[in-house]
Symmetry: C2
Subunit: 202 residues, 2 copies
C-alpha cells in the first residue's frame, strides 16, 4: 500500500493475536510516527525472547535458564504442586498472588486423536519428580489440578489424577462455580448447573 | 512475573497502541507457544522499518527511498494534489482506491501554541513545488484539502488554502456530512448541523 518495508511490517504484525489489517496499520504508523526508539527496543526484546526463552527442566514452563525462577526459589513450597495446561495458565495463577507452591505445565490437554497422550503431557517426567521427592523424604502433599473447566480439561484432570495417585498425598481440583460478579440470571446454564452440583455447606 | 526475558517482551509490547498488560501477555505467550519463527520475522521487519523508513522528499509521506512509490509513479496525476495531516490519512485515502493524484503530508495541524506553524507543516516546501510545476508548464490544477474534520483540521485547511491560493487553480475541501450508514437519529448534532449547512442540490 505505502512502501515495501511498511507493507512488510504490517504483514508481520498480523501474526499477533486479534491483530488484523487495520490494527496492524495503526500500530505501524504509530511506531513510525512517534516511537522509533521503542520500536527498535521491541524488536530487540522479541528477538531475544523468541531465540532464548526455553522450557524449564522441572516445571516445563517458560524460562531464561535451565531452571525457572519459580522452581529455583527456595521460598516456594515444593510439597504443593499445581498442574496446569499452559504456561499462560501459570501466569494467570501467579498473578492472583494466592499460590505459593510450584507448578507443572502439561503443555496442552489429553487428546489421543491428535496424538497427545501421557508422553506429550510429560506424565513420566512428572511421576519421576514425584518419586524423587518421596525418595528424598520430601513428598508432595497436595496436587491441585488446575486444568481448564472444559470437557478436555476435565478429562485431562481425571487422567493425570489416576496416573499420579500412588505418589502424592491429596489430589484437589480447582473450584468450579459462579465467577466473581457473576449474576445468575446471565450465567450460562452449564456453569450454573455445575455450581449447583458443587454446592458447599456454609 | 515469569522470567526477565518474558517480562521485558511484555513491557516492550505495551508500546503498541491499545495494548495493555493483559493483551501484551497474551501476545507474548502466543508467540512463544506457537509462533517463534514468525516472532523473529516480526522483529526483523520492525528493525528494518524503524531504522530505514524515511520521509519522501516530495510528499513527506513514508518511503523506503528518497522518493516514495506514489511520487515516483508516472501514472499518478501530478496536477491533482491532496493535502493531508498524516501519513496515516494518506494510507486511508489510498485504500479507497478513488484518488489518482499525488499527496502532500503536513505532519500535523497548525498549532502556534505548540510551535507548529508554516515551517513545521512544510508550507515553504509545498509552495516551492507548486511554483516549480508552474515554471515547468505543468501547474497543479486542483488541491484537495483533506485535513481532519476537527476544529484544528478546519483551521489548518483555511491556513494552507490562504498560503497556496496564488499558485494553484482550484482549491477544494473534502466533503463533510453524514457518514455512510449513518442514521440521523444516532448522529452527533455537530455532524448533523454541518451536514445540513453543507446540503447540496439533487
Ligand atoms: Zn520451573
Ligand atoms: Zn512521496
Amino acid at each position: 500500500m505505502l512502501t515495501p518495508k511498511f507493507d512488510n511490517l504490517v504483514k508481520e504484525l498480523k501474526v499477533l493475536p486479534s491483530v488484523g489489517q487495520k490494527t496492524a496499520q495503526r500500530m505501524a504508523l504509530h511506531l513510525l510516527n512517534h516511537k522509533r526508539t521503542q520500536g527498535i527496543q521491541l524488536a530487540e526484546a522479541l528477538m531475544i525472547a523468541m531465540n532464548e526463552i526455553k522450557q524449564c527442566q522441572i516445571c516445563r514452563g517458560f524460562s531464561d535458564d535451565d531452571i525457572c525462577p519459580i522452581c529455583a526459589n527456595p521460598q516456594r513450597d515444593n510439597q504443593l504442586l499445581c498442574i496446569v495446561e499452559t504456561a499462560g495458565d501459570m501466569v494467570a495463577i501467579e498473578q492472583t498472588a494466592s499460590f505459593q507452591g510450584r507448578y507443572f505445565v502439561l503443555g496442552g490437554y489429553l487428546s489421543p486423536i491428535d496424538g497427545i497422550g501421557a508422553e506429550q503431557l510429560g506424565i513420566d517426567q512428572l511421576i519421576f519428580q514425584l518419586k524423587r521427592q518421596i525418595d528424598e523424604g520430601n513428598p508432595v502433599k497436595e496436587v491441585i489440578l488446575a486444568t481448564n473447566n472444559t470437557v478436555e480439561g476435565q478429562t485431562t484432570a481425571f487422567f493425570v489424577s489416576e496416573a499420579i495417585k500412588p505418589y502424592v498425598g491429596q489430589i484437589s481440583r480447582i473450584a468450579q462455580g459462579v465467577p466473581m460478579g457473576g449474576e445468575l440470571e446471565y450465567l450460562d446454564s452449564m456453569t450454573l448447573g455445575q455450581a449447583l452440583q458443587n454446592r458447599g455447606k456454609i
